[in-house]
């Protein structure tokens, strides 16, 4: 188009492949690193066996190596990447919806609802029991979605939802739900460490079940975000302008809220409440390729995956053989980076 569009396009054309390559590199590191000592060659061999098994149907050898690589590390890697994709996209959509670069995926109460859902589930079944593997994510997802729906209904006035009302209602309802969660934690008889680990966000003890749960969110969500790039760009101009350009703003906001919430709830259901990724990654992506969602959506998705893979490696390595909740890593890295962005950008806009 113009030179600007071409320049942005060129940056995008370089940045996206670089991030994807870095993501593959980080993925290999993630597969090589772990408590059990395997050589990279062994790991790659196990991966190839797994791939062959998938294609030909011949089962791969049943031993510790294959089981660790194919049933522990590989699903965990995919889970980290998919959670990163969901959180980054959810944040990008929320920021467009609120026309505010400070919005994050949890702004309308997804995290508090998911927290309550998860705690209720853990009171009913042990989180790592076979039933808990499904119950916790399912109730977390239901809790997150229910709170967003409640916030949306409470924010409606004469059929319209004002963004500021949505934000404040989200904060109010979120506090109430968090209070309910705290109360349950006090009366709960189970071990609180497990609950805390979940609330802080983490990927330990997850497997292919969880990958299967979040994969549809990530794939459908990514495609939906690509479809929504024009409405999101228009909304950044302001709701009146977007409406004057022929966008049905009310409908667009409802769809974007649903999209963002389903992405966030999907991520929280399998990974717990992982902070800062959804807030910071869209910022990084915007610094790299500008605010145009045609470029922002793919770059944010790829950056989210890369960041989460690296954070998960750090969570496993830093206090090995023990493990840190990944939410602690993302907060420890995300908060200073975000403050740096705030100070650096001053009034220059985003």
């Amino acid at each position: 188009m113009t030179t600007t569009a071409r320049r942005d396009g060129r940056v995008f054309g370089v940045v996206l492949p670089l991030i994807l390559i870095a993501g593959v590199g980080a993925g290999l590191i993630s597969l090589f690193v772990g408590a059990a000592e395997q050589s990279p060659a062994q790991v790659v061999g196990a991966l190839l066996d797994g791939g062959r098994a998938l294609v030909t149907g011949h089962p791969y050898p049943v031993d510790t190596l294959h089981s660790i690589v194919l049933n522990l590390r590989l699903p965990r890697l995919l889970l980290a990447a998919l959670v990163g994709v969901c959180l980054a996209l959810s944040g990008s959509v929320m920021q467009a919806l609120f026309q505010n670069p400070m919005a994050d995926p949890y702004i309308v109460g997804v995290s508090s609802g998911a927290g309550l859902g998860a705690v209720v589930a853990m009171m009913l079944v042990a989180p790592l029991a076979p039933l808990g593997l499904v119950t916790v994510p399912a109730l977390a997802f239901a809790g997150g979605a229910a709170v967003v729906l409640l916030v949306y209904i409470l924010s409606q006035r004469a059929g319209r939802v004002h963004t500021a009302t949505l934000l404040l209602t989200g904060i109010a309802v979120g506090s109430l739900v968090a209070a309910a969660t705290s109360f349950l934690l006090l009366v709960m008889e189970q071990d609180l460490r497990g609950v805390l680990f979940w609330l802080l966000g983490g990927l330990s003890g997850r497997g292919w079940t969880h990958v299967a749960m979040i994969a549809p969110h990530a794939v459908v969500g990514f495609v939906a975000c690509l479809v929504a790039v024009r409405p999101m760009n228009l909304l950044l101009l302001g709701e009146d302008t977007a409406a004057s350009l022929g966008l049905d703003v009310g409908q667009a906001k409802r769809w974007l809220l649903a999209l963002s919430s389903l992405l966030a709830a999907g991520a929280v259901a399998v990974g717990g409440i992982i902070a800062f990724v959804g807030l910071v990654v869209p910022h990084i992506a915007r610094l790299l390729v500008g605010p145009d969602h045609r470029h922002l959506v793919p770059v944010a998705a790829a950056s989210g995956a890369l960041l989460m893979i690296l954070a998960d490696v750090a969570a496993r390595v830093l206090v090995a053989p023990s493990e840190l909740p990944i939410g602690i890593i993302t907060s420890a890295l995300g908060c200073p980076f975000f403050l740096y962005l705030l100070r650096r950008q001053g009034g220059r806009g985003l």
């Binding site: 188009m1 113009t2 030179t3 600007t4 569009a5 320049r7 942005d8 026309q99 505010n100 670069p101 006035r157 004469a158 479809v227 024009r230 409405p231 760009n233 228009l234 950044l236 101009l237 302001g238 009146d240 302008t241 409406a243 004057s244 350009l245 022929g246 966008l247 049905d248 915007r286 500008g290 605010p291 145009d292 220059r348 806009g349 985003l350």
Partner: protein
């Protein structure tokens, strides 16, 4: 007589129950340029929002080119009516070109790709607003006057027949106020665009528009040429204060001359 661009009769419009507009009539012919004046809260911006399709009429009729405004699909309406909203900063660092290109949404839609004519229309809009040289700049780096031109160019990229502007000269330096008013006049004269301009500035309106309409408490108080509307009795009715009016030494059009507390009358 040219056909009616807008035909508004007995318009009532409300936010949350209370009628802000209480029976407004407005017949605007194609090719006209009109300035809408009145005190804060008189309903100027509300009328503009109804005409732009952002707020539904509660009562009365609003016709655009002989057809009920509500009968238009949003994108169909956006091909006829361009809106320049009140000045607001854009916190996102889009390029000038990208913002103006968003004016093509009514033609391109959600999933379409912009074609040659879309690029042409954007280029033309940039030129008409005198900002072709800024096309690669980021909107976050522009001055107030430059950014206002970007908003106007974005509306022009819609290839509208009616241009609605909400206080396009507010918060601008004097030279930029005159620049923007002259630009609107040029678009009206050269492009045949029908222009409806909400303004606070009586003198600028008198100088650049041939028709002024004054609102007070949701009703039309005056509608006519500057000579008919910018008069001491009319201004007293609208603003509840006596103002001296004198012809401009340059154009002869009536200008409000500010003086201390009306003691010069």
């Amino acid at each position: 007589m040219s056909p009616l661009m807008l035909d508004v009769r007995g318009l009532h419009a409300a936010y949350d129950g209370a009628d802000v507009l209480q029976g407004v009539d407005l017949a605007l012919r194609t090719g006209e340029m009109i300035s809408l004046l009145g005190p804060n809260g008189s309903g100027k911006s509300t009328l503009l929002r109804v005409l732009a399709g952002l707020l539904p009429a509660r009562l009365g009729k609003v016709q655009l080119l002989g057809r009920d405004l509500r009968a238009y699909a949003p994108r169909e309406r956006a091909r006829l009516v361009g809106l320049v909203p009140q000045y607001a900063t854009l916190p996102f660092a889009f390029s000038v070109y990208d913002v103006v290109a968003m004016g093509r949404h009514p033609y391109v839609g959600l999933l379409g790709a912009p074609g040659a004519h879309d690029r042409e229309a954007v280029g033309l809009a940039l030129e008409m607003a005198d900002i072709a040289h800024l096309r690669e700049r980021l909107v976050t780096e522009l001055s107030g006057g430059e950014f206002q031109r970007v908003l106007i160019a974005r509306a022009l990229a819609q290839e509208p027949r009616l241009l609605l502007l909400d206080e396009p000269t507010a918060h601008l330096d004097l030279n930029h106020q005159v620049d923007i008013a002259a630009l609107m006049r040029r678009l009206n004269g050269e492009q045949g665009l029908t222009v409806l301009w909400v303004s606070h500035d009586m003198n600028l309106s008198s100088e650049y528009c041939d028709r002024l309409m004054m609102l007070k408490e949701g009703r039309v108080i005056a509608d006519g040429s500057p000579a008919e509307t910018v008069t001491t009795p009319q201004l007293r009715e609208v603003y509840g204060m006596d103002f001296a009016v004198a012809p401009s030494p340059v154009s002869g059009r009536p200008q409000v001359v500010l003086s201390r507390g009306g003691d010069s009358l």
